[in-house]
Amino acid sequence: MEQRGLGRLRLPGLLALLAALGVLVVQAALGRRRAQTPRISASRNQNLWPLPVTVRTTPRLLYLSPGNFFFGHSPTSKAGPSCAVLQEAFRRKMELQKLEVSVIMDPECDSFPSITSDESCEYLCHGNRLFTKLLVTDSRARSLETFSQLIYQHSSGTFTANESNIVDSPRFPHRGILIDTSRHFLPIKTILKTLDAMAFNKFNVLHWHIVDDQSFPYQSITFPELSNKGSYSLSHVYTPNDVRTVIEYARFRGIRVLPEFDSPGHTASWGKGQKDVLTPCYHSREPSGTFGPINPILNSTYSFLSKLFKEISTVFPDKFIHLGGDEVDFHCWYETLLTTPLHPFLKPLALEVGVEVVLDMISAMKKTSIVWQEVFDDEGKLTPGTVVQVWKKRNFHMKLRKITAAGFPVIISAPWYLDLISYGEDWTGYYLVEPLNFAGTPEQKQLVIGGEACIWGEYVDATNLTPRLWPRASAVGERLWSHQDVTDLEDAYRRLIRHRCRMVGRGIAAQPLLPGYCEHEGRM
């Protein structure tokens, strides 16, 4: 193992000088620990969210001095000061004497996080008042978040942590937040703020529903007219630089950016900048002047889609592309097809042909497609490996059973539409959902790769996104990260209240769970 050099990383100064202090090296290769039940010692830590797989803490207190604390790379670590992901993460947690970090797997410092990224970690927090520590992790900075949550401040102002040993790994590899930037444009700052909050909750996928009927804010290099004509205004646009900023900001937080370009429905805004891409609707055999979904019977449609998705597959580095496919209104297609004798397709066929072509396109680009459940329901021919996202709440467990029985991986969002608000403590409902509560084989259950909390934008923009999302989405965050048996509401309340105040302290305007207060109240 390469010696990473001596020195120490002093914060807030960025000089990375690694100190080779005596540290205990744990050489445990940590796989995913789905089977392990959570073990928490008697002095249960009230501060952690989501709850790790095992937490052992002792009453012994360790003190940190903010002036001297620093993060260092362990001599045995595979990642060193050149690992930008970690260096940046160290800087973000600068309020904390020394935490030594050792990455034992491929550190993936310069690559993008992926669905197979190992997010497991184990760390020991022990020592004298000297506060030496060791951390074993991948470079995704999840464990740094956990570490930061262990630190609390005494009323005297001293930063303290209990001696502890934590082993942790996520239950599901896909833990997402969906944002919708079409119904309302979200300024870049709002998206970046959301990524910060996601990292605080160990979410690792930003599902970016970037375009829809209402507006097309994505500025395409190949088809600039799409946003020129289809955005709300020329200032309501994501430039290629904006998109890069989001992707890089996300990468530094171990978050993947999953772009969704929903078609063939939900595409009214596409029609403004791309001629003939939408189906002209007919009324009594005359064009009615309105337009329906993407026109599936023109070759030009497919050459357009091919070029567009080629660009998207380059711009967004993630292995997955979300193709949408939900809520297609067949009415317009029917009318058109009936009046177009040259194309006597019937509905399922038209869709099937369309979907098949697009899925093949994506496969050829070496990407994996994700689609909404209708594509599966409509019995389009799905390429094996296509991920199906379940969003309809009614009987969703049944749907999970069917889709996994057919061998497709699934993402669940049906019970987690956070834009549907109601009075009171609705987070408990999100919290108590058990994703694998359907009849199926262990292999079927393995096909559930995770879930997403969705905050659709019909009534949400930068003014109300943050308080509406947090801490309600935190409930989903713990459900997707922690062990299945972590369902004690009272315990969750205690931890979530603290977690919410912590978010507020970090500048996230997370709304209250019930009457009470935080030491530092939020200022909008």
Binding site: K189, S233, D419, Y423, Y459, N464, Q511, L513, P515
Partner: protein, 529 residues
């Protein structure tokens, strides 16, 4: 078209909700035209008319002029120099304000006249009002009449407005007990209230959860009853600041100290004030409402409300009186003995009445009027005939519409809040329901209807603090504001939607984090700080 003038009838108005007429709330009478005047920000001024009763030195208007200048032009005011001497009839360089009745240093009251007329034509640009409070309302309207072309030029159209509120009490309730609201949140809310022509800030200061009001006679109340006596309190200075900030915007501060229920936070600071609850023959260690059987209680209340009557200048105090839970009273042997002594039998409503009547007598003696929640009326407490009853229960004991009829037929003045609990949220455009409420839609004589003095939008704090207050409040509370200000006939949803959507974008422009009504966008979106 006769001249270039369009005459709006209220019902026709929807057809002409153009840029120049996107007013919120909608005025009682408006006549506007497409003829427009250019406004040059650098030279534009608000001026007092020579014969105005208010002149330079009138704090209410001097400060309002400054606020509206900033709101209208911001930094643009000095960007485009324009030679002063060039004057055309197509330009307006001032709004002249004429106030008839003197008085700039008093507080607004329930009887304040808020009428104004606004005349913008070739000859003049005049705001005429009876009082400074009317002038404030007119300035807000004027600020909403000014619009900007895509090139950045400011315009105002030829307009005649005669306006006055439908109801004199147009309130907004904030709850600073369930969650503490930083002073800045309260002050910001007062600004937005003024934009909506609200004129009463109902401050539900204390409740079970915490006691943030710092009392100088009983400092232990906050020391022991606040969430944090260093950070989560309102000092005397804070309260003064709120009252003055509100006054400058023509807003009354109606302070509520709710008793005998909703008082758990009072207990730690005033030993013996709350009723000890019993479990069998022993005190359970928990406490119930204020103890109505002790003389000490009334001595305390007497001293406490003397302070409150002095600190809050408004004629009215809100004394609460809602949701008194009788179980603790029932369990306590001393209370039982007191009931017997007074001959109340098993009727705890009589005990409640006894307490409230005694309290009302105390407050009356300080020369104050009072507002109470509907239970005080429902429980047949004997109250002064000039008491204001606030109706808040939607269904029980009767539908609120019926309750309004009952309260007014008993000759009391009524305030409506039941359909306007804005802390209750649902998915979608719920402002429509809020908007379509008709406060006088109950069976009753014209005299009864005249007893309805207005209503209040309530933002209770169980799930609300400074993180989510603003988007939850605005523009939903705007729907209540228009219902209470505008003519009853102004109830077309499409017309309202267009104006309210425009108004919410204007709020964003003014820095208010008002949430969207539907899909769409504003030229200036809210930017995270």
């Amino acid at each position: 078209m006769a001249g270039s003038t369009l005459r709006f009838s209220l019902l026709l108005a929807a057809a002409f909700a153009g840029r120049a007429t996107a007013l919120w709330p909608w005025p009682q009478y408006i006549q506007t035209s497409e003829l427009r005047y250019t406004i040059f920000p650098h030279s534009f001024q608000f001026q007092y008319h020579l014969s105005s009763a208010a002149q330079v030195g009138c704090s209410v208007l001097d400060e309002a002029f400054q606020r509206y200048r900033d709101l209208l032009f911001g930094s643009a005011a000095f960007r485009f120099p324009h030679p002063i001497e060039k004057r055309h009839t197509s330009e307006k360089n001032s709004l002249v304000v004429l106030v008839v009745t003197p008085g700039c240093d008093q507080f607004p009251s329930l009887g304040s006249v808020e009428n104004y007329t606004l005349t913008i034509n070739d000859e003049q640009c005049l705001l005429l009002s009876e009082t400074v409070w009317g002038a404030l309302r007119g300035l807000e309207t004027f600020s909403q009449l000014i619009w900007r072309s895509p090139e950045g030029t400011f315009y105002v159209n030829k307009t005649d407005i005669e306006d006055f509120p439908r109801f004199p009490h147009r309130g907004l309730l904030l709850d600073t007990s369930r969650h503490y609201l930083p002073l800045s949140s309260i002050l910001d809310t007062l600004d937005v209230m003024a934009y909506n022509k609200f004129n009463v800030f109902h401050w539900h200061l204390v409740d079970d959860s915490s006691f943030p009001y710092e009392s100088f006679t009983f400092p232990d109340l906050t020391k022991k009853g606040s969430y944090n006596p260093a950070t989560h309190i309102y000092t005397a200075q804070d309260v003064k600041e709120v009252i003055e900030y509100a006054r400058l915007r023509g807003i009354r501060v109606l302070a509520e100290f709710d008793t005998p229920g909703h008082t758990l936070s009072w207990g730690p600071g005033v030993p013996g004030l709350l009723t000890p609850c019993y479990s069998g023959s022993h005190p359970s260690g928990t406490f119930g409402p204020v103890n109505p059987a002790l003389n000490n209680t009334y001595e305390f209340m007497s001293t406490f409300f003397l302070e409150i009557s002095t600190v809050f200048p408004d004629f009215y105090l809100h004394l609460g009186g809602d949701e008194v839970d009788f179980t603790c009273w029932k369990s306590n042997p001393d209370i039982q003995a007191f009931m017997k002594k007074k001959g109340f039998g098993d009727d705890f409503k009589k005990l409640e009445s006894f307490y409230i009547q005694t309290l009302l007598d105390i407050v009356s003696a300080y020369g104050k009027g009072y507002v109470v929640w509907q239970e005080v009326f429902d429980n047949k407490v004997k109250v002064r005939p000039d008491t204001i009853i606030q109706v808040w229960r939607e269904e029980i004991p009767v539908k609120y519409v019926k309750e309004m009829a009952l309260v007014t037929s008993a000759g009391f003045r009524a305030l409506l809040s039941a359909p306007w609990y804005l802390n209750h949220i649902t998915y979608g455009p719920d402002w429509k329901e809020i908007y379509l409420v008709e406060p006088l839609a109950f069976e009753g004589s014209p005299e009864q209807k005249a007893l309805v003095i207005g209503g209040e939008a309530c933002m209770w704090g169980e799930y609300v603090d400074s993180t989510n207050l603003v988007p939850r409040l605005w523009p939903r509370a705007g729907a209540v504001a228009e219902r209470l200000w505008s003519n009853k006939m102004v109830s077309n949803l499409d017309f309202a939607f267009k104006r309210l959507a425009h108004f919410r974008c204007e709020l964003l422009r003014r820095g208010v984090q008002a949430q969207p009504l539907s899909v769409g966008y504003c030229d200036m979106e809210f930017e995270q700080t």
